[in-house]
Structure formats: structure tokens, C-alpha cells
Point group: C2
């Protein structure tokens, strides 16, 4: 019954950290080298690199080495699958609430 989806796993896992979400928001404004991200987020280069690797593995960031500098930019992954999963969950919740409402209506009607 478990539907494996490495895509959903990697995206939700990448988004579960506030620094990683912050890096995505930062890169939404403009591309940036690792060193600039480290400065912006007051982290060590090693710390930022780890976060960027997780984002890169999830397809949310791409990096390119230019000379000694590793430039980061937003990946093209639009998170469609993730948005669809959440939308389906919301529809499921609403359906459940509707069923509960109908049940309460019927219970009242029987009194």
C-alpha cells in the first residue's frame, strides 16, 4: 500500500529545513556563489555546501563551477507533484468533513 516516490521524498525532505527554504528564496532573487550564501546565512562554507547538495540532489538547485567559484541558481523543478499531493490531501479532508456533516444531519433528523 505504500507508494514509493523518491521525488516526493527528496523534495519534502529538502523543504523541511528553514535554511534550505531560505536559500531557495535567496536564489529566487538572483544566482549566488556558495561564499555569498555562507555570508548571507552566517554559516560556514561546509555547512552551506551540505544544504546546497541536498537541494541539488532534489533538483531544486543547480550549481556550476566557474574557476574557483561554485555558482548556485534555482533548478527548474516546479514542485508540481508536491503541489498535487497537497491538493489531493485537502480534497480528502474536505470529503471527510462533508461525510461527517451528512452523518450529523442524519442523526439530527432521527431525533
Amino acid at each position: 500500500m505504500v507508494q514509493y516516490s523518491p521525488q516526493l521524498d527528496s523534495a519534502f525532505s529538502a523543504l523541511a529545513d528553514p535554511t534550505r527554504r531560505g536559500i531557495l528564496e535567496r536564489l529566487g532573487r538572483s544566482d549566488a556563489p556558495i561564499s555569498e550564501l555562507a555570508e548571507d546565512f552566517e554559516m560556514t562554507l561546509t555547512g552551506v555546501k551540505k544544504h546546497v547538495q541536498v537541494l541539488e540532489a532534489a533538483g531544486l538547485v543547480t550549481t556550476e563551477k566557474v574557476g574557483r567559484v561554485r555558482n548556485c541558481r534555482l533548478g527548474t523543478r516546479r514542485l508540481d507533484h508536491e503541489a498535487a499531493w497537497i491538493a489531493a490531501h485537502r480534497r480528502m479532508l474536505e470529503a471527510r468533513l462533508n461525510r461527517l456533516g451528512e452523518f450529523l444531519e442524519r442523526t439530527r433528523g432521527n431525533k
Copy 2:
């Protein structure tokens, strides 16, 4: 620059596991005791309990002990905040692509 949001952290983290997503989908059809979830997902009671605890901490599931049985049902959390974060990310990606398109247009115009 990091915007802390324990809500986003806990929800995305809870959704990063296929068994936990499966449990939510299962509970969307009907409430179920832990023992039934263990059977459906071919897991030990302890394994399922851990997943349910993560989902409960994230507000995605509520549980209630009735006699010796712990019943699980979907929590009321609609994941609005998470859906909004993903929607904002998609708008950001589109804006970036538009800027890139305009840049390419200008570059062509100069030739």
C-alpha cells in the same frame, strides 16, 4: 535571513516518508486503529506507532485511546501554509524564467 517556521518544518518532514504519506491516504478513506495500519502496511506495531507520532506532532493525525485500542483519524490541518510556500516558489521560478527570456530578447535585439 532564515525564516523559522516550525509548522513548515514539521509538515514537510512528516510528508517526506512514503509510509507516512500512505497512512494519511489510508486514513482519508476511514479511521483505523494502529493494529489495522500495522497490518495494511506490513509493519510492526512499534514501527507504525513511530510514524503515527510524527504525523500527530505535525497535526496531520489525531489519535484517541478507546479501551485497549488507539484509534487514528486525519487531523484537521489543511496544509495551507505548505501549499502557499510551494505556490510562491513556482511564481518565483516563473519570474526568473521571464527575466531570462527578456534578457535573451535584448541580447538578440543588440545583434
